[in-house]
Symmetry: C2
Subunit: 224 residues, 2 copies
């Protein structure tokens, strides 16, 4: 699979990169909100654009040769999907949703500002779906049953107001290569949306895991 | 409903605002990609952040008093949901998806860059869902049967590669206050995801429409 990298960097370097990612993406998130809310005229906007282009130029002096961040691992197994559109800490499109895990459960509390609007004053139904897809998938993965989304069903109970939001999910059951997770979005109004997701272990991962099992068996036979 | 505005601006003013929105949001979209892909160190990142903060300061000199853009109409009925997280032209989180309509069908072709990644090299399943929610809802609305999303079901057939994407949807049928729309995402690999959405006319809209019907009836009786 292209786009999956092993990066052998140590803890101090990882800390430095984490801090750069958070500060830079944080500044861009503020700029995104300002862009949605500004009422400046064309002249002022042009001055802002000059600064934005200057920032782009600086950031472009050293950049990845690939067209996406991909998913990275350090040699001690730390996974960095920092480009992820929902949880990616260095992706300004992501709120980001920072997940907590407790066994088969995953949850997060975060703020959704003006950049996530759909109907006036409400979170876009599609953003609700995007967050639930991620939280359900992460719950299944963390419980040891990762997979790509096969089917995702969202039931919207009421509008989700922009502002403070809680998302939570748990692995419900496993049926062969399918993991079924359930979850919901909760605000001060109560549950606003419920989701069920079926996550399927990709064939390449199954084959890799079958090959690993066969190798283990072969070794135990040759050792015995 | 708060957040829905009537703004009585003329065509030249609307053209100016459109151009400012496109240029500013376009520059921020480029900055978002740069943020995902950059490998500059902390010193260079700090210089970029200075420019970003300068842009935020300029844009903040005049801003909306509300915390979201809302949904605006001009007096000739032009709808501007520019803050929308999927189709909003002045929202840098939105690709944006620019929709074409033909009766009950809606479609769009657009590019999804590194900011929309989920699995390495692939569009986030949640972003696929977000786009389908919007395109299905817009198809139903444009066919004269608008509604808030009630249920959204996405079936993922294969990964959606980052890059050029087509999204399309059509109103399938109407059952009372429910509009049912179907749609799909298509890339050079073929159909990657299929969706069905049930959109429900909110009670306040039904009551408004019932009140309008009653008023019409009352008038026709008093006129007659």
């Amino acid at each position: 699979m292209s786009g999956y990298f092993l990066e052998d960097i140590g803890a101090p370097e990882l800390r430095e990169r984490t801090s750069v990612a958070d500060e830079l993406a944080g500044a861009v998130r503020t700029l995104i909100s300002s862009t949605v809310l500004t009422e400046v005229d064309a002249v002022a906007a042009a001055r802002a654009i000059e600064h934005i282009e200057a920032a782009v130029e600086i950031l472009g002096t050293e950049r990845l040769s690939e067209d996406s961040f991909g998913v990275r691992f350090t040699s001690d197994g730390v996974k960095r999907n920092w480009g992820n559109a929902v949880i990616g800490r260095r992706n300004p499109v992501a709120p980001p949703v920072v997940l907590n895990h407790d066994g088969a459960k995953a949850w997060s509390e975060f703020e959704l500002g003006p950049a996530y609007e759909g109907p006036a004053g409400l979170v876009h139904g599609g953003i609700v779906a995007a967050i639930l897809d991620q939280v359900l998938g992460s719950a299944a993965e963390h419980a040891g049953h990762p997979g790509m989304t096969g089917t995702l069903t969202i039931r919207y109970r009421q509008g989700t107001k922009l502002g403070q939001v809680r998302a939570e999910a748990e692995l419900d059951r496993v049926e062969g290569v399918k993991s079924i997770a359930k979850g919901r979005i909760v605000t001060s109004d109560g549950v606003t949306a419920e989701a069920e997701g079926i996550f399927i272990l990709p064939r390449w991962a199954r084959e890799a895991s079958a090959a690993a099992a066969a190798e283990k068996l072969r070794k135990s036979l040759s050792d015995g």
